[in-house]
Symmetry: C2
Subunit: 224 residues, 2 copies
């Protein structure tokens, strides 16, 4: 028995073989993911929300540091502060948008903070004990990158259950961090609205409303 | 016909319904992803590599900016420079590892740069025209976070085809960027080895070799 076989045998599992049918469905998952800003009001089963976090926890992390820190935001006063934070940042963004685009910007719905039944803030612990510093000496930014990957894993896991996620970044991160009273030093990564989507689309909302269109991948690959 | 139905109908598609069987396989995909450092030498079909980039291109991005920039690194001289970069950074990391852990560190295989048939560098364009600045005024770091999510999408897509990916971050990012001669201003996100894995494991390499163990998710969720 090879070392590899022995280790997997100890874990009690044989490696999966993914087939064409699975891969086609996985591509559907990626294509239909969407950044959701329009939610139905009903809450998601708490066991399912826990499951999403458990799956996010399987994301890659530098040095196996698992630096992501998730915070469910439920308290009405805190949600009110988050909404006010978004509204101020969004008003400032609108004021700084070029005149030819301001009319479109003003019409975009950029967050589902009012309707989404669940709010999830994501932080990273910048220098966690876990991982013993491995892999992040020259690139400490791999810690927040790991957290971003966990957000993506959670997003796909949720979509697989028909649950939508919307990423809110039009926020003052320092004020957001203060208002959530998290341990000192945590780095704010993003704020996510979670709930069942009011509608499902294969085309991104920003594309449907004329802000930007998605480009094919050919433009983004070089060879060296 | 609702607005939502009309738009999807125009796109010619009905929303997918994912079932328990798909979700179980998707969980397998996340659980068996792995950071691969031991590769078989055979090359991956170029059409498949293109497909991985096309799927990465479906990742979430701030303001639909798609700021990820992929660079396949093939030239022997450039690969040699990348290897030398890694070796210098790794030697320095070892020299700075606490004496009680240095023996384990020295034994870890932290990159598959010699064996991996394909090398993929990932950059982000920090202030791309695409997206018209939307969503990144207060949090410009959402641009590299978008690129990290694209790396995760590519990683999962590859694993679905039995192809392994290994993230190398023990590098001097400035020297790496110079040696790949990319457009000025691009931000280096990570370097990825790509190829068929020599073995498949459900347990991370760093855990199997005693560096760190993966923790359950309960520790990482707060309520506010």
């Amino acid at each position: 028995m090879s070392d590899a076989q022995e280790k997997n045998s100890r874990a009690g599992e044989t490696p999966p073989r993914f087939d064409d049918a699975f891969r086609a469905r996985f591509e559907d998952l990626l294509r239909w993911r969407r950044d959701v800003r329009r939610f139905r009001p009903e809450r998601v089963d708490p066991a399912l929300l826990d499951r999403f976090l458990a799956l996010a926890n399987l994301a890659p992390s530098v040095g196996l540091s698992q630096p992501w820190r998730f915070v469910w935001v439920d308290h009405p006063e805190r949600r009110k502060a988050v909404r006010a934070n978004f509204e101020a940042a969004n008003a400032e963004a609108l004021a700084n948008t070029s005149p030819d685009r301001a009319a479109i910007y003003a019409k975009l719905k950029l967050a589902g903070l009012d309707e989404a039944p669940h709010h999830l803030a994501l932080f990273a612990e910048p220098d966690p004990a876990q991982g013993h510093g491995l892999g992040r000496r020259t690139m400490p930014e791999t810690v927040p990158y790991s957290a971003a990957m966990a957000a993506h894993a959670l997003w796909l896991a949720a979509r697989g259950h028909g649950v939508g996620v919307g990423w809110v970044s039009i926020l003052d991160p320092a004020a957001l961090t203060r208002c959530l009273d998290v341990p000192p030093g945590w780095l704010f990564i993003g704020y996510f609205c979670v709930g069942y989507p009011a509608a499902e689309h294969v085309t991104p909302e920003l594309e449907r409303h004329g802000w930007e269109r998605r480009r094919a991948e050919a433009a983004t690959a070089l060879r060296r």
